[in-house]
Amino acid sequence: MPESLYAHPRVYDVAHDFRDYAWECDAVLAWAARVLGRPPRRALEVACGPAYHACELGRRGLEVHGLDLSPLMGAYARERAARAGVRLETHAGDMMAFDLADPPFDLALCMIDSTLHVPTVDRMVDHLRAVARHLGPSGAYVIEQNHPAQYLGRRALVDLEWTERDPETGLEVWIRYEDPGARLDPITQIASVTVTTRVREPGRPERRLVDETRLRVWLAGEMEAAIRLSGAFAIAARHADFEPDAPFDDGLESWRMIHVLRKTA
């Protein structure tokens, strides 16, 4: 039985470290400042994985925390941040039910479509309430998901297969996500997909990692209803790109569904 990608945080990191996280954080900080009326100081990245965004925010002087289900991933993210000179505090916990003893944050973020792991409207409500409990008054929550055109209208907006190489170690990762849009149960909006990873490393035999995973596709209409059902947030803004004033539409530059929420209760 092949091992799981999630048991190999460094491989996961190399495969996913290709976005412009500095540019994305410019927008996240601008959005958060609009909600808060001031720049955010303490941020929590939920389902953080290697915590790309939290790490970048830490570089900019914010106090940063990461939450991930996997303690292994948390430890990896902490070390990765430390190498960049950032102190990242990590917590092992489920994004749909977590309880941290820390004082309230003023910004929470959930990036790169981690909500694919939230299976139902009920669980989304649990998730939103859990995040809201960890925010101070008028705290901001930024959720980034796939753009609905990926599923409704079926425009290919993201790559599902690619190769990344870490120039320092020579570690090379090829990864392929089966298209959830093509395997979707149209009623539950859940797709069972296989994620296949091949790892090449100097001086080691090639390794293959396989994950069977159930991903829940979230669309705009039901997000609005779930946010309202949570009673915890209001939608401050929606965007389809990491530009502070990018509209949420189906334009040529549109490729993500980003909700900027303001805590209301």
Binding site: T120, L184, P186, I187, Q189, L219, G221, A225
Partner: protein
């Protein structure tokens, strides 16, 4: 004659300017493809089952158009009423019922927000085909559900029919359809939606291009072209909206017009039907 596998139409909804809705007789011919008595058997079965064994005595069909089902309910001795936004359609439905030997009342109102007065309380309301695609936003849906709830007796039933999410979330079934119906010497070929319809996945609204080709005695008499804005409602979104309304509980969901039609992604599951009970 090929009845549509998946009729995309909404009967009269929000937009009285939509020409097909202002051509009630043509519309009536084009959409006369259902086995209405069989549908009504099923609806009454669901309503009786969900209403703890009590058969409905007074009904209201929302966005009723030519009132196919309301006329059938009236034939069975039920006090059946309709509601529609388009005056021409209302007049047509009343006259059609009269010709069928029954009297129905059809109210002029917008299904998103209506108040027919304190004496109008029903034990069953219906919204069929895809009229709910004319409810474009979550707020409009909440207002609609609240309006329906206000007109139901305690424990009253609301049956809604919408397109199956399969049509929108997979490549397997086209969202556009065309079909031919005839009555007397009139033959109508209807195209409801086309391949290149505008669709915005952020609002989930499609602008369906509608074309009705009317032939009389084998000669093309006229072509009606119009666009129709239709909001795609998906299953978890409906569930969340219904819960948010606080007005209803979901008693049953069905994928077709049989008393027990599982709502799943099997081949013969082709509609999204909710049986709701007033809270």
């Amino acid at each position: 004659m090929t009845p549509p596998a998946s009729p995309r139409a909404g009967p009269p909804g929000d937009s009285p300017a939509d020409k097909p809705y202002n051509e009630p007789e043509l519309y009536d011919i084009a959409f006369d493809f259902r086995d209405v008595p069989a549908d009504v058997d099923v609806i009454l079965g669901w309503a009786t089952r969900a209403g703890s064994g009590r058969a409905p005595r007074r009904t209201l069909e929302l966005a009723c158009g030519p009132a196919y089902h309301t006329i059938e309910l009236a034939r069975r001795g039920i006090a059946a009423e309709g509601l529609d936004l388009t005056p021409a359609m209302r007049a047509y439905a009343v006259e059609k019922a009269r010709r069928a030997g029954v009297a129905i009342e059809v109210h002029g109102a917008d299904m998103v927000d209506f108040d027919l007065g304190p004496d109008r309380r029903y034990d069953l309301t219906l919204c069929l085909l895809e009229s709910l695609s004319h409810v474009y936003t979550l707020d409009a849906m909440l207002s609609h559900l609240a309006s329906v709830r206000r007109h139901l007796v305690p424990g009253g039933i609301y049956v809604t029919e919408q397109s199956h999410p399969f049509d929108h979330l997979t490549d397997d079934r086209p969202v556009h359809s065309d079909w031919v119906r005839e009555r007397g010497d009139v033959e109508i070929e209807t195209f409801w939606g086309k391949k290149d319809d505008e669709f915005d996945p952020t609002t989930q609204v499609r602008v369906a291009q509608v074309e009705m080709r009317v032939r009389r005695g084998g000669r093309e008499e006229r072509v009606i072209r119009e666009t129709c804005r239709m909001k795609v409602w998906l299953a978890p979104e409906m569930e969340a909206a219904i819960r948010l309304s606080g007005a209803f509980e979901i008693v049953e969901r069905h994928g077709g017009w049989r008393l027990d039609s599982p709502f799943d992604d099997a081949e013969d599951s082709w509609r999204m039907i909710h049986v709701l009970r007033a809270r």
